[in-house]
Symmetry: C2
């Protein structure tokens, strides 16, 4: 890496700080930028600079937003009686891509993880409770991940919300659509068997 001039070494070093990007990939990306049109390179740098300045959390659902209230929260055509709880903005984006949901969201901004020192106070749980009490929500769908942290966060929330007069549901888990049974792990298969439905 020291065989390049300083301006190139700087970019390689900064790229390789990003997750999943090693020194070789960083070198390849930098070489691409050197050959790319100047406007394209400037656009990339500019958009990164603006990222931090313009992005904020929506005051209502804690999704990423560039306004006080995000696009979904301020959309009157969304079902105001449905609230879906997810861990991160990326989970919300994945659900939106699926097109299967038309209600509102609440982004926890993480999961309970005692090992990492993340407790209920580090997540947007107080805001969730006051939102549910204040607004006319009829059903809460808990869509945290189905790993250990996601499941324990779901249990914690179910306990907390059980006292409130709302229906609580959890996204189903089972064999992925298009999945080959022989490649599905046994815990998922067990869950799929237990949750089997009549046809």
């Amino acid at each position: 890496m020291n065989h390049y001039p300083k301006s190139i070494v700087n970019v390689i070093r900064n790229f390789s700080r990003l997750p999943g990007i090693g020194e070789k990939t960083a070198e390849r990306l930098t070489m691409h930028l050197l050959r790319a049109p100047a406007t394209e390179v400037k656009m990339l740098a500019q958009s990164i600079l603006e990222l931090k300045e313009k992005s904020r959390l929506c005051g209502r659902c804690f999704a990423m937003s560039d306004k006080e209230v995000c696009r979904i929260c301020s959309d009157p055509s969304r079902n105001q009686e449905l609230l879906c709880i997810v861990e991160q903005p990326t989970d919300m984006a994945a659900l939106e891509r699926s097109g299967a949901y038309n209600g509102l969201y609440h982004i926890l901004q993480g999961v309970l993880s005692p090992m990492d020192g993340i407790g209920p106070d580090d997540l947007r749980i107080q805001e969730l409770l006051s939102k549910v009490k204040k607004e006319k929500i009829k059903e809460i769908i808990i869509a945290t991940s189905t790993n250990v942290e996601g499941e324990s966060t779901a249990s914690y929330l179910i306990n907390l919300l059980a006292k409130l007069p709302v229906r609580i549901s959890r996204i189903a888990s089972g064999v992925p659509v298009g999945g080959d049974l022989k490649y599905v792990d046994q815990v998922t298969l067990k869950r799929a068997m237990e949750s089997r439905y009549d046809i």
Copy 2:
């Protein structure tokens, strides 16, 4: 992707234009930047902006440089009688990392590739010839890649340089050090057998 605000979509879109980075990776990188310290993000953007402004080609060997003549060309301790021809600056960096070479370089800035419309005039071949005629070079090592384009560029250069009073050599090819014979392709094995040496 449209489920994020515009400032985030811009970064995702610009990242996914880079080679080997799909939309999912671009999303992950952007989320990392959102969580990263502002100074780190600014450093990345700044270094990308400076990349194009400060980088230029060395006037002597056509390596990347931030000065008129690069660090290697202006180093009097390098062997001025050895010239190694490589395709790209990354190849030069790889050879420098190996520590096996102490001479000068000439970077062709590509390989002959009729399929892509790249002929001798698109490479730094005229500059190579005039350099060899003018300077006191005794040996030229052709270190283009060992794929089809690299080999045909090597043949072309050997033909061209054969008239000049210099020794011409080609880097050896064979089984990589630490390589397992059963994973080595048959062309490489054939080459390794042909180039076997007495011990």
